[in-house]
Symmetry: C2
C-alpha cells in the first residue's frame, strides 16, 4: 500500500547550507552519532577516528548549532548580565561588559544583556531567566546585605556571581572591590594632608557597599580622632546637580567639612564645581579624594587625588568565576576581593 520509495531528505551534496554533523557524517562515511561523540572527544571513539572527524570539521568550518544543542541538552551557553539603570553613569556598564566578554572569549558562551527598568534591584529579571532557562548563569551588581536576588538564586541553586557582597550566612560567589579599604585610605590621605573635618558621600543605605564605605571612613576618623561628617540629603545616586546644590548649601551652614571622600567621578566633579563656584580651589581649600573607574579623571583640573577601581578587571573576574561555578566549583572558592590601587595626584603624600 505504501508507495514510499525512501527518497533522500535533501540533495546529496547539501549545497549552500551550513555544515552540520550530517555533513561531516556524509563526508567521513560515519554515523551522525559517531561524529558527535568524536567531536566531543569521547574516549570510546578510536583516536584515529576522532582526529579525522576533527580535521574534516575544521576543514569545512563546522560550528555546532546553538539552538539544537540548547534544545537537546538544556544548556544555553549564555551568560546574562542584568544591567541596572544607574549603571549608565560613566562607563560602569561598558567596562564591566568588556571584562566579561574577555573572560568569555574562546568559550562557547555568549553575553546577553537583560535590562532592568526598575529603579531598585528587583527580582523580575532573575525570575524570568531562571523560569525560562534563558541563561546558564547570571551576573548583577548593586548588591544588598540581604539581597533577594541572591537568596532566590541560592534557593534554586542557580549559578551567579554578584558584584558586591551580602551578609547572608550561605557563601556565594562574588567579586567585590574593597570599599572599606578605599574609604579608609582616602580618609587617611585627607587627614595626612592636614584636613580636620573629612566628610563622605555615601551610596544609598540599602547597598552593601554603603556600609563598607562607612566602616572604612569611621575607622580612619576614629583612629585619628578628628571631627567628621557623613553628608546627609544626597547619595552617590543623586544627580550631579543635586550634589552640587547640597555642597553649596552645606558651605553656608556651620562648620562645613574641609575634605570629601567621593565614591564616584560624578560626585567628585560636583564637589569640585561647588567649591569652584565659591572661588575656592579644590585641593587647596578643600581636600578631595575620588574613586577613579575610568581614564576620565586624568585630564581634570585641578588635579585631585584618586584611588582606582578597575571595573574591567572586575568584569573579567566575574566572568571567570561564573564559568567555574557553572562547571561545578564550590562557592567558597569563588570569591574575590579586589584591592584599591593608590594614585597620588602630586606630592601630597605624608
Amino acid at each position: 500500500m505504501s508507495g514510499r520509495d525512501d527518497l533522500p531528505r535533501r540533495d546529496v551534496d547539501d549545497a549552500g547550507g551550513k555544515p552540520t554533523l550530517r555533513t561531516i557524517a556524509e563526508i567521513t562515511g560515519l554515523a551522525v552519532t559517531t561524529v558527535s561523540r568524536a567531536l566531543s572527544g569521547a574516549p570510546q571513539i578510536a583516536l584515529e577516528t576522532r582526529q579525522r572527524v576533527r580535521q574534516v570539521a575544521d576543514h569545512i568550518g563546522y560550528m555546532p548549532d546553538r539552538a539544537a544543542q540548547r534544545l537537546r541538552t538544556g544548556r544555553t551557553n549564555v551568560i546574562s548580565l542584568i544591567l541596572d539603570p544607574h549603571e549608565e553613569i560613566i562607563n560602569f556598564g561598558t567596562s564591566l561588559i568588556r571584562g566579561i566578554s574577555t573572560a568569555l572569549r574562546q568559550t562557547p558562551y555568549h553575553l546577553v544583556i537583560t535590562p532592568s527598568f526598575e529603579d531598585a534591584p528587583n527580582l523580575d529579571p532573575v525570575r524570568y531567566i531562571m523560569r525560562n532557562r534563558m541563561a546558564d548563569g547570571i551576573i548583577f551588581s548593586r548588591t544588598q546585605p540581604f539581597d533577594e536576588r541572591v537568596r532566590l538564586l541560592l534557593e534554586n541553586d542557580f549559578p551567579f556571581v554578584s558584584h558586591g557582597r551580602t551578609e547572608l550566612s550561605v557563601p556565594h560567589p562574588y567579586v567585590d572591590y574593597d570599599n572599606e579599604e578605599f574609604a579608609f585610605q582616602a580618609t587617611m590621605k585627607l587627614i595626612a594632608a592636614g584636613r580636620t573635618k573629612p566628610a563622605i558621600i555615601l551610596p544609598p543605605e540599602r547597598f552593601t557597599f554603603h556600609h563598607h564605605l562607612r566602616y572604612g571612613f569611621m575607622k580612619a576618623v576614629r583612629m585619628q580622632g578628628v571631627d567628621y561628617e557623613v553628608l546627609s540629603g544626597v547619595s552617590l545616586d543623586s544627580s550631579a546637580e543635586t550634589i552640587h546644590a547640597r555642597i553649596l548649601a552645606r558651605l553656608d551652614e556651620a562648620s562645613p567639612p574641609d575634605g570629601y571622600v567621593c565614591g564616584g567621578e560624578v560626585s567628585a566633579l560636583a564637589v569640585m564645581a561647588a567649591y569652584t563656584d565659591r572661588a575656592m580651589v579644590p585641593g587647596r581649600d578643600v581636600g578631595i579624594v575620588a574613586k577613579k573607574t575610568s581614564t576620565l579623571f586624568t585630564p581634570v583640573r585641578p588635579r585631585i587625588d584618586t584611588i582606582e577601581e578597575d571595573l574591567a578587571a572586575a568584569g573579567e573576574a566575574m566572568g571567570r568565576l561564573l564559568l567555574k561555578r557553572i562547571g561545578g566549583a564550590a562557592a567558597e572558592d569563588l570569591q574575590e576581593l579586589h584591592r584599591p590601587q593608590m594614585e597620588t595626584a602630586d606630592a601630597t603624600a605624608a
Copy 2:
C-alpha cells in the same frame, strides 16, 4: 514481534517541568499543532478556541521555548550589537545599550553583545554572526565611508543598522547624528564669541564622521572668513594624555588657535587641562565647544559650551529601525539623522 504497548512518554500531569505546548494541549484536549496555530493567531482556528488556548496559556504562564523556535524556524529573536574597544570611553556603549534595550522591550528579541577585540572595525564578528545565524540583525558603529561591513551585509541581504552613514550608492538603514551641523554650529558659536582662529580635533580619517565634522567646520570658517586649523597629530581616539601634550606643544608654536571644537568629552577635558596648566582660563582665554553625550559635563568647571548628542535616543532608534528592517521594510525608509541640541553655558550667545 514488537512488544511495544504504546506507553506514554511522560507522566500524565507533567509535574514540575515548565509548561510547553504539550501541557496546554493536554489541558485543553487539543492537539499540539492546534495550540501552536491558535497562539500564533491563525484565522483558521476558531475564534473561541483561540481565546480558550490563550487564556490557558496565560494562566499557566506559558512562554515559548526560544531554542525550539529557533531550531525550527531559523529565526533567532536575537539582535547583536558589535561593541568596539573604543566604545568604552565615557558611557557610549552603555547609553546605546540602554536605548536598544528600550526598543526591544515587549518584543521577543534579546540583545547579545558581540565584542570586537580588533582596533579597527573588522569583518570577523559580522562573518561569524551571518555564517552561524547568531542573530536576526546587527547593530554597529564607527562607520566608514566605504565600510566593508556594510558592503558584506548588503551583499548577503542581512538586516542591520549602522550608527553613522556611508558613501555607498546602495541605501541602507542608519541612524546618525548630524555631525556636520554640530561642527558648524560649534564653530559659529566660537566665532560669534569673538574667536579669530578656531581649531578642531577630528576623529581618525577613516570614519565617515571625520568628514562630516570637517565639512561643518570648514563651512563655518569659510563663511566667516576667519583663520582656522585642523589640529594635526592627534585624533578623538587619542588618549587624554596625548591630546593634552599636543595642545601644550601647540601653545609653544606660532599663532596657536584661540578656540576648539571638541567632538567628545575626553578631548574637551584634555584641552581645558592644557590651558589650565598654562594658567589660562577655558572660556575666557580660549573658547571651547564640546559635544556632550552624558551628564558628565554638567558639574565641570569652568563651564564651557556644549551641544548634545543623545546616545540613548540613537540606540532606541537603531533598535526600532532594525526591527522594521527585519520585518521587511525598505532601507530607504529606515534612515534617521538626529539634530544637535544647543545648550548654552551662560550668556555667550551672539
